[in-house]
Amino acid sequence: MATITICEKEYSLDSIENKVDNLLQILNHVKATQNHSLAFRSGCRSGVCGSCAVRVNGVEKLACKSHIKDGDIVEPLKNTEVIKDLVVDLSAQEKFLRESKASLDTKGDEPITIQDEKNIDLQSNCILCNSCFSSCPVYEVNPNFKGPFALTRTYRYVNDKKESNIKDKIDAVQTDGVWDCTLCGNCNMVCPEHIDIKNDIMMLRNKSAQLGYTDPNMANFDSGFDAGMDFGFNPNGF
């Protein structure tokens, strides 16, 4: 017999059929047989709709793609209000995307090659599951931070050869944007699509520097040298 904890309540799993260990199937089973009031979101069951992200033992995961074991603890995403059980408020998502100008603004006429599309392929796989948002430590100090999914989406359009107006997007991500990231890489660790969000943010910093922007954290630091000091700014994007 196995036990898992969902939102601080323990559930026994001895009656699971066919030894199913998929978390979403377990949530459905618990809801249908043990607790009809258990609230969670789900949709496609196959990892593309982004609705079922939760935390398992503190780490963000899609319930439909997670395999769990005896003693696991399932909790809602962080950095936003919990509405009920595993359901959290996602209303900030639209605001962050709007502020980040993450869309095609002015289409140019350059031909698009296989490689051009590959350059934005991974970023455009984002399913907006909000796992990265939950894992990001910046929200503890800055709730207005545009955050990983919005910034990676901005980069997807900045890096899109179809886009001929990059400047507007770069302008949009200066405040509460690229320079507020600590480059901790938590978002990369939890992204179910394996998007290298940290690198995308560093690339946005490079583009910002090319357009004349500087790291405001560096500007405030007037010791006159920066050798050996890591403030998260890396103009080479390494």
């Binding site: 069951r45 196959s46 869309s103």
Partner: protein, 533 residues
């Protein structure tokens, strides 16, 4: 006053929203999920389009021919012509607004051949086509300041003198019943394959809510018996493995590793061949091993991950056990090409509608094309049809009070029969008896069960009495909608005494010219009335 209220935020709803917003109108999209969580994200294989390429042998005429052949004489020729005639512009529009289509070596949009197609016609973004189309739409909607009302579920249409006035809906977060008035309403809520609970590739949200609501206000629905079963879903979990797997050269084999069917025949033919093997005690596998890891990772990265995550199997090394599963519903609210229903200013588009574009079976790659083509057309039509001189009365309609009472009463139901058990039974029953092989006797048995469950509905109910994000309540309403809709499906299937496209009767195995027409269903005084027209 809202000019256009769109119910549903998948590809059909969002393309309608983008088109109607262009005219400077007040457009609101209401959805029971968040926009990017809709079924469209699961479309993988591609979107059909005839492109002007050097050396291409494809033509609009061939696309039209393939679509008509798949429709088995019950498609609407004008609607099919419109979609095929405009496919080049439709794809161009998607490319222009930012959909990152994969490219070929000549910098053209890459295309692959899907089942039932005479040419490589499906434009794709690896195997994430629907996801990338949907997210591009969402980004454009945000850019165009389209207003979203998320996590609100349609309850009923408000209709007065056969004109739509608005809707009633349930705010899932607060359980408040609201009325939203609009000059026109477009429903784009997706299909009803979710009825095959446990045997479907669809999202849990595909419960046909708007189709049931449309029946209640006197709309006709058509071709409800036409349900497409996808040949290749993962055995057990019914997770979809895209047709691109066969399009790229994958085989279907038995446990003795013998091929037994043309893998690129129409979906209904392949699905029936697979189920026949399974029912005879054999097993069926998808075999991609000969394609090699490089091609698999390049053209179907999502399928590779799905097989690994859900079956712990590798596409390049292992045989993948598969089974057919309910995938797409051709039937829905009866409309013309412009999405118009028999209620003035109420439109339906996408999988919830039946405009004749698919007829008896849908061609792979035509679902995404349908939702974009007709989403735009219906959005435009809705705007054009608004009579600016008409008086739009803002008042509290009786329906609001009725639905508040209805929801309050659900909290009081005895809940002595657990609807989750019935939901599970219903899925299995439909898969076995209203599935790929049908016969009169078994269909009638299902009808009897539906009637028993209808009677038992007042003994069901909810145990969660909370007013905050009550998914028990939401799921009970969805279950009730599915149950109400199920009768229309089974009655239509009984009525069609022939085999045509996705509807296969073992007691009437041939096509019969007498039935070369639509099945129309209306609800009068709580009775389902069916006719062929």
């Amino acid at each position: 006053m809202i000019d256009v209220l769109i119910i549903g935020s998948g590809g059909a709803g969002l393309s309608a929203a983008l088109e109607s917003k262009q005219c400077g109108k007040k457009v609101v999209v209401l959805s029971k999920t968040y926009p990017t969580q809709s079924q469209t994200c699961q479309a993988q294989g591609g979107i059909n389009g005839v492109l002007q390429k050097e050396n291409s042998t494809d033509t609009k005429e061939l696309h039209r021919k393939d679509t008509l052949q798949s429709a088995h004489e019950i498609g609407d020729i004008d609607t099919i012509n419109y979609m095929c005639e405009n496919s080049t512009q439709t794809i161009q529009w998607l490319d222009d607004i930012g959909v990152p289509f994969s490219r070929d070596e000549n910098n053209n949009i890459a295309q692959r051949r899907l089942g039932g197609a005479s040419n490589s016609r499906a434009c794709y973004s690896s195997d994430y086509t629907g996801l990338k189309v949907l997210h591009t739409f969402y980004d454009n909607c945000i850019k165009n300041n389209i207003e979203f009302i998320d996590e609100h579920m349609l309850l009923n249409f408000i209709v007065e003198d056969e004109v739509i006035k608005g809707i009633t809906c349930l705010d899932i977060k607060t359980t408040e019943v609201k009325q939203i008035l609009a000059k026109s309403v477009i429903v784009a809520t997706g299909g009803y394959a979710g009825l095959y609970n446990g045997y479907t590739t669809n999202s849990t949200a595909s419960t046909g809510d708007s189709i049931t609501a449309a029946l209640r206000v006197g709309c006709a629905v058509s071709n409800m018996e036409y349900i497409q079963f996808h040949p290749t879903s993962l055995k057990g979990s019914c997770i979809l493995i895209s047709e691109s797997a066969r399009g790229e050269g994958g085989y279907l084999v038995t446990k003795d590793e013998e091929r037994f069917v043309d893998e690129l025949a129409a979906r209904d033919v392949v699905a029936r061949a697979i189920l026949e093997k399974i029912e005879s005690g054999d097993e069926v596998f998808l075999d991609l091993r000969h394609l090699g890891i490089e091609k698999i990772k390049e053209t179907m990265p999502q399928e590779y991950d799905l097989a690994l995550e859900f079956c712990h199997l590798k596409l390049d090394q292992d045989l993948i056990p598969i089974m057919p599963a309910a995938h797409y519903t051709m039937g829905g609210i009866k409309t013309n090409m412009y999405g118009e229903t028999n209620i003035k200013n109420l439109y339906a588009v996408g999988e919830c509608s039946s405009n004749g574009v698919h007829g008896a079976n849908r061609l792979g790659g035509n679902s995404l094309l349908e939702i974009v083509t007709f989403g735009k057309l219906v959005g435009k039509t809705a705007i054009e049809n608004i009579d600016e001189k008409a008086q739009f009365v803002v008042k509290e309609y009786e329906k609001l009070a009725e639905d508040k009472e209805y929801i309050n009463n659900l909290f009081e139901l005895p809940n002595t029969i657990d609807f989750y058990d019935i939901k599970k039974d219903m899925g299995k029953l439909f898969y076995n008896k209203v599935g790929l092989f049908r016969e009169e006797e078994k269909l009638k048995e299902v009808l009897e069960d539906i009637k028993i469950w209808e009677k038992q509905r007042s003994q069901m109910g909810i145990s969660d009495k909370s007013k905050v994000y009550n998914t028990n309540l939401k799921e009970f309403i969805e279950f009730s909608n599915k149950l109400e809709l199920s009768e229309a499906i089974v009655v239509s299937a009984i009525h069609r005494k022939e085999s045509r496209g996705a509807h296969y009767r073992i007691d009437f195995k041939e096509e019969n010219e007498k039935f070369a027409c639509e099945t129309l269903v209306v609800k009068k005084d709580e009775n389902i009335i069916v006719e062929l027209s």
